[in-house]
């Protein structure tokens, strides 16, 4: 299993693409700034959102029961899944009962987390992702690289090739307008022929038992309203107390995500339409454990806007796939170790701790503090990088004794002066993307002794 450093190295091979990726995401970040600056009390709004989520987390048991009761009253079937497997089995069970072998799906990071597509394909069920970006990565047999912009790592020419192969567009066609039209025609037919649709959930209201799904494309609505069976999968942390609280979150969500004032569609599903079946699957999958980790429970406030990714200097230059988890970037790096500390031990280290993620987060999650705290937990639990541990021990030894420190400093300067090849080689990770600095003639200590003492 390759770690973040190794996977970023692969992404970094194409420098021009890295620059383009970096600039595109920074442009999205700037749009977020512009949109947020138009709201005079943006900071108060963030604070309110954070506090509402705090209230949700502190009373989640009751809110879940309240939501379930209301949803059942509204004619929705409510299911509970402890983990990914149980979620996938529930979805499969619903489809099987209806004899359905084809399903259309709109964006749901939860189903990525549960690897639902793969599981259903194994059961002989065909799944089509209907969000344009998700469709592109699905056809390319890749996971999404960004939670809001799933194929942000792909150039239009590559998308043109994928569409030529799978959807029959003209060879060499790379005009986004024409490619989107190709997908529109293809997916319209899909929407009209699928009896089951699965959607994600942006917000679920405990007070009323309704849930809200936000899209720009209208794909969630097309799928849901044309289907006989609508399944909505949601993590248990998606609840909000009352309907009026939607105002706070809908004001923040898209402004933070893409700089739009709101998504094109913010659909409120309360009851199935006559003759339709509606299901909600409430998924835990580690969330109740994270809730019990005092230092990390705030990560459950996340509303999946992606602002922390767009602003992150590491994400922008390493690409979403380097995080090898469904949710990439800073937020993914504090969520993933909860699920598997060993497999994701590298992620909290994939950060400069600059704090930009924390500054843009619409629900004020202390992301960079949590990255720092995860590092400590991971080292304490023995999942740290062994090479790094040895280097740290050597450094601790050197810094603990002034004598050893002076000798090491001198040795370093001599090596760089007389034997630069010893450090200017590929064994030294620092040298990979930059030159080593000129060695100073003497240390500050030596200079001070000569000139000031």
């Amino acid at each position: 299993m390759k770690d973040h450093a190794a996977l970023s190295e692969a992404f970094n091979k194409d420098e021009q693409r890295v620059n383009w990726h970096d600039e595109t995401l920074w442009w999205v970040r700037q749009k977020r700034d512009k949109a947020s600056h138009q709201i005079p009390d943006w900071e108060e709004l963030r604070e309110a959102a954070s506090q509402i989520k705090h209230n949700v987390l502190s009373d989640l048991g009751n809110y879940l029961e309240q939501f379930e009761k209301q949803a059942i009253n509204n004619g929705i079937s409510v299911h509970w899944a402890a983990d990914a497997k149980e979620h996938n089995d529930i979805v499969h069970g619903i489809l099987k009962r209806h004899g359905i072998t084809q399903m259309v799906k709109s964006k749901s990071m939860l189903t990525e987390e549960c690897h639902l597509n793969h599981f259903l394909e194994e059961q002989g069920i065909n799944v089509v992702d209907s969000d344009l970006g998700e469709l592109i990565v699905q056809l390319a047999k890749e996971p999404p690289s960004h939670i809001v912009l799933p194929c942000i790592h792909k150039k239009k020419e590559e998308i043109g090739d994928i569409f030529h192969e799978h959807l029959g567009s003209e060879k060499g066609e790379s005009d986004p307008q024409i490619l989107t039209e190709t997908a529109r025609i293809h997916l319209r037919n899909t929407f009209l022929t699928r009896r089951a649709a699965l959607t994600g959930v942006n917000f679920a209201v405990a007070e009323t038992g309704e849930f809200v799904v936000c899209t720009n494309e209208g794909n969630a609505d097309m799928g849901a309203h044309l289907s006989d069976v609508h399944i909505a999968s949601m993590g248990i942390e998606k609840l909000i107390p009352q309907r009026k609280h939607l105002s706070v979150f809908l004001r923040l969500l898209t402004r933070s995500a893409t700089g739009q004032p709101i998504t094109t569609y913010s659909s409120h599903f309360k009851r199935p339409r006559p003759g339709q079946e509606m299901h909600i699957v409430l998924v835990d999958n580690g969330r109740s454990i994270q809730l019990g980790r005092e230092d990390f429970r705030n990560s459950l406030k996340c509303i999946r806007c992606g602002a922390c990714m767009n602003t992150c200097p590491v994400y922008r230059r390493s690409g979403g796939h380097s995080y090898h988890t469904a949710v990439a970037g800073p937020i993914g790096s504090i969520l993933a170790p909860n699920l598997d500390m060993k497999q994701y031990a590298d992620l909290p280290f994939a950060s400069t701790l600059c704090g930009s993620c924390t500054n843009v987060c619409p629900v004020k999650i202390d992301i960079h503090d949590q990255l720092y705290k995860w590092r400590q937990v991971i080292i304490k639990e023995g999942y740290g990088d062994k090479k790094k541990a040895t280097a740290m021990q050597a450094m601790a030894y050197t810094l603990s004794s002034p004598k050893v420190y002076r000798i090491a400093g001198k040795a370093g300067r001599l090596v760089m002066k007389y034997a630069p090849f010893a450090v200017n080689n590929s064994l030294n990770p620092w040298y990979k993307q930059r030159d080593m600095p000129e060695p100073p003639k003497e240390s500050f200590g030596e200079w001070y002794k000569k000139n000031r003492s």
Binding site: W80, G133, T180, M222, H225, K270, S288, G292
Partner: protein
């Protein structure tokens, strides 16, 4: 122990001490801007997200702005337009697939929101849920007096109402998934015309 009981028990064991939700009264009761300012903001924002705003003095006036291609299918929930479009009511419980070839839907919106140009459309006004999404072009009608300033005012307005399905619509269906190039007409309507009734 069922999964449900297990999850609820784990959640209750893990959740922090109770903290009350903050008051959002502050935003809900703010002095609203002048009606004319609110309307102007609505128009500007709507233009920014790709909608076209047309002020009309009467419902009948809408007909002067419709560019109807002969032989295309048009549905509406606005009785005054039944001479140029079919009534959506009969489709209420029909198979939604029957609406596959609708070219234009003209629907009444309950109210609009100035800060993001979203229009609140309920199931009752849609006839059937899929209509505002499956039509090639969408037109929404809203009274100028029914534009509120922001989302807080919007949810206050919906308080007490009960809809099996309702949605905020802001602009035509769109995507920027290919290299962040904005394309209008992803899966839903390719255009949104908003008729603002000024009388």
């Amino acid at each position: 122990m069922t999964t449900r009981e297990k999850i609820l028990a784990n959640v209750r064991k893990s959740q922090p001490p109770l903290v009350t939700a903050p008051d959002i009264f502050l935003w809900e009761n703010r002095q609203q801007a002048e009606a004319s300012t609110v309307l102007e903001t609505f128009k500007t924002v709507a233009g920014n997200v790709g909608s076209k705003v047309i002020s009309v003095e009467s419902i009948a006036d809408i007909k002067n702005h419709l560019n109807i291609l002969p032989g295309t299918r048009i549905l509406t929930s606005v009785p005054e337009l039944f001479d140029v479009a079919d009534d959506v009511a009969p489709y209420q419980n029909a198979n939604p697939h029957q609406l596959e070839n609708v070219e234009l839907a003209i629907l009444q919106a309950e109210f609009g929101v100035a800060e993001n140009s979203a229009l609140w459309v309920t199931e009752k006004q849609m006839g059937t849920r899929v209509l505002p999404f499956i039509c090639q072009h969408l037109a929404l009608v809203v009274n100028a007096g029914d534009i509120v300033a922001d989302m807080h005012a919007a949810y206050q307005r919906t308080q007490g109402s009960d809809h099996s399905f309702a949605t905020f619509i802001a602009g035509p269906s769109k995507t920027a998934d290919i290299e962040q190039s904005l394309v209008l007409g992803a899966h839903g309507p390719r255009s949104l015309n908003i008729f603002v009734l000024t009388t």
